[in-house]
């Protein structure tokens, strides 16, 4: 406690000096009355390093709630907390950070500087800030068509052939892996036969593909069927290769 004694003595000397000046009636202040430094060297002991600790209660909050910071220091002459500023050497304060924050306390004293940290975690609700499933989540047309192939049909038939069943199975696995993708299934026919009948046949073709996808576990709400009959031809040559191209259930992204 030498430090304390030295301080007290200094204060006493100072007070005596002031009293003397006042008592002498001199209104003129003499700053250089007595130089405290000239009073002789105080006994200088090595100053101990400050100690500091800071706690927060609670350590984790939701956005909008508050947290109580509580800090204790010793041997510090100035204490600052980042983001708050200079504070008392010991104290409490209520804060409500909007994001998770590291409260960093710096205690400076004659003996040096000590730091202490406490982290307050702020739980921010996740859902509102994440973008809702949107177009971008469906991926690109190119990626879709790379993985999902059209299902082709025999002439005047709406039964799934083995190759069409394979296309549908592949489509089903892609859809299972990409749950945000919605699909419109277009039913198409070659240009032989009658327009009205072909529209009904196209509907049956698209429905065959839809039924197979549902049986493979795809939710019906993700699938939409439109028959185009022979109204939207893929090609218009009069040969079997072109007719086969037209006889199909076509999968497209339903944006």
């Amino acid at each position: 406690m030498r430090l304390m004694q030295s301080k007290t003595r200094k204060a006493l000397v100072l007070a005596a000096t002031v009293a003397m000046i006042v008592a002498a009636g001199g209104c003129k202040k003499k700053a250089s009355g007595i130089d405290p430094n000239s009073l002789g060297p105080a006994p200088v002991a090595p100053s101990p390093a400050p100690t500091a600790s800071i706690t927060a209660d609670p350590l984790a909050i939701d956005v909008g709630q508050s947290v109580v910071l509580n800090w204790r220091t010793q041997n510090a002459t100035s204490v600052t907390i980042d983001g708050i500023g200079e504070v008392n050497t010991n104290g409490t304060q209520t804060v409500s950070p909007s994001t998770s924050t590291n409260f960093h306390l710096t205690a400076k004293g004659d003996g040096g500087t000590t730091e202490a940290d406490v982290r307050v975690t702020v739980r921010v609700p996740v859902a509102p800030t994440t973008p809702a499933p949107s177009e971008s989540d469906m991926g690109t047309d190119a990626a879709f068509h790379q993985n999902v192939q059209d299902a082709f049909f025999d002439y005047d038939s709406y039964e799934l052939r083995p190759d069409a069943a394979a296309s549908v199975a592949q489509a089903a696995s892609y859809l299972a892996a990409h749950p945000t993708v919605k699909v419109v299934i277009g039913g198409y026919c070659d240009d032989r036969g009658s327009a009205e009948y072909n529209l009904a046949l196209g509907e049956n073709r698209a429905n065959s593909a839809k039924t197979a996808l549902i049986n493979a576990g795809v939710a019906p709400t993700r699938l939409r069927v439109i028959s185009y009959g022979k109204e939207k031809q893929f090609c218009s040559e009069e040969n079997e290769s072109c007719w086969q191209q037209n006889r199909r259930a076509q999968f497209s992204l339903d944006r």
Partner: protein
């Protein structure tokens, strides 16, 4: 002489007497009035009644329309224009009947009159005289007035022609004032168009800019039902020809196709896949109270009511594979299959209820040589005759209201965009194109 009945009787007799081996045969000829010679009629060019410069132009339209109407009627033996006397009588006092009844004209009937325009109005007097009855030759005398436009001149000719046909056909209404609705292909879209029965006056009805098909006009000519492609697929639409705009028809799920009016105009039959599989449904004219009539897996499409009774529906079903023609009662009972083979589509029921016209490819299949042609089948006996031969793909026959004509679509080379609309007599004669290419799915008005 009831020519309409005679015609039907003629067709009926041919079907009745046709041996069953006839089915193997593609070609045979029928006549519109078997056993009865057609009335020989001379159609004089009308006499211009004024010096108005528009007269000559409109009179030419009138003369050619009248001549065409009487030619198209199919019940006349028309005197060629070159065989007519030089005179053009404008009134009963100006005609010298023996000149018309003598060879080479040899006309039994003479249609003549005067046509003039003044002050922007047409005044037309038309007469029909029996050239063999010198004492009381007048069969018909009519006066018409209208604005002096080409459309009006054509309409007056149609009306006069229908009067003549009505008198000489034994009471069968003419069709010169009837309309044909059809699908016109544009670049990437199809809209509904309308024309006079002879192909004149072609104009657009809808301007939806999408794919609109299967136009069917209501029995009272006030509304047009069709099927139109939207975001959710094909839906039934109704357009009011009176209001000039779309009117409400409830949308439903799935593909909705090929509407058909009940003859009382109170219900529509159509194909709908709202329950998953395309079936025939019936609803009121705004789509309410819809009920399913068929229930069999496979496409069911193209219904058409028996216009005589309204109690039967003919339609096309693929329940056994290739599409076949069926009939049933309009409540879905008493289903009967009418065709036994091939690929049958697009039925149209004759106004008297006796016949079904439809498109049929009897040898359909990959690599098969079959062609899709127009056939007429008698409902009671299922006997049929073939009306078109070797002209390319034919489809969408539709009966005229007098039951003597059939309009249909034909593409000579099989390409869809080369489709034209043709008209013929119901025995397959007098075929003529009504439109250029890009016209399809004709529907003849009910009156």
């Amino acid at each position: 002489m009831r020519y309409a009945q005679l015609f039907c009787l003629g067709l009926f007799l041919i079907l009745l007497t046709a041996p069953s081996t006839l089915r193997a045969q593609d070609w045979f000829k029928t006549e519109t009035s078997s056993g009865v010679s057609n009335i020989r009629i001379a159609v004089a060019d009308f006499k211009p009644g004024s010096a108005d410069p528009k007269t000559a132009e409109l009179k030419r339209v009138f003369d050619s329309t009248l001549y065409g109407d009487l030619t198209n009627a199919g019940i006349f033996d028309i005197v060629a224009k070159s065989m007519l006397p030089q005179s053009s009588p404008g009134s009963p006092s100006e005609i010298n009947l023996p000149q018309w009844s003598a060879a080479p004209t040899s006309a039994a009937m003479v249609a003549f009159g005067a046509f003039s325009t003044q002050n922007g109005k047409i005044v037309c007097n038309g007469f029909l005289f029996d050239s063999k009855n010198l004492q009381y030759p007048q069969v018909l005398a009519k006066q018409y007035g209208d604005d002096s436009t080409e459309d009006a001149a054509r309409l007056i000719a149609h009306r006069f022609a229908d009067e003549i046909i009505f008198r000489l056909s034994g009471g069968s209404q003419g069709i010169a004032e009837t309309k044909i609705f059809y699908v016109k292909s544009g670049t990437g879209n199809k809209d509904i168009w309308e024309m006079d029965y002879d192909g004149a006056n072609q104009h657009a009805v809808t301007h939806l800019g999408t794919v609109s098909i299967s136009p069917r006009v209501s029995p009272d000519n006030t509304r047009l039902a069709f099927s139109s492609l939207g975001r959710e697929g094909f839906q039934i639409k109704v357009y009011s020809l009176v209001l000039g705009r779309m009117v409400n028809f409830q949308a439903a799920g799935g593909t909705n196709l090929s509407p058909a009016w009940a003859p009382d105009g109170k219900e529509l039959a159509f194909s709908s896949s709202r329950s998953g599989d395309p079936e025939i449904w019936v609803s009121d004219t705004s789509g309410g109270g819809a009920r399913r009539v068929t229930s069999f897996r496979g496409p069911d499409v193209s219904p058409v009511y028996n216009p005589r009774t309204g109690s039967q529906i003919a339609w096309i079903s693929g329940r056994t594979g290739l599409p076949q023609l069926y009939i049933m009662d309009s409540d879905g009972s008493a289903v009967q299959r009418m065709t036994d083979t091939g690929y049958a589509t697009s039925p149209s029921w004759s106004p008297n209820g006796q016949f079904l016209a439809f498109a049929w490819d009897r040898k359909y299949g990959p690599g098969a040589p079959g062609g899709q042609d127009i056939y007429v089948m008698e409902v009671a006996t299922k006997r049929w005759i073939q009306l078109t031969h070797d002209t390319g793909r034919c489809d969408f026959p539709s009966w005229s209201p007098d039951g003597r004509h059939i309009v249909y679509a034909n593409t000579a080379d099989g390409k869809a965009d080369h489709m034209k609309i043709w008209s013929m007599l119901a025995d397959g004669t007098q075929k003529r194109a009504l439109t250029g290419t890009g016209a399809d799915m004709p529907n003849w008005s009910w009156k």
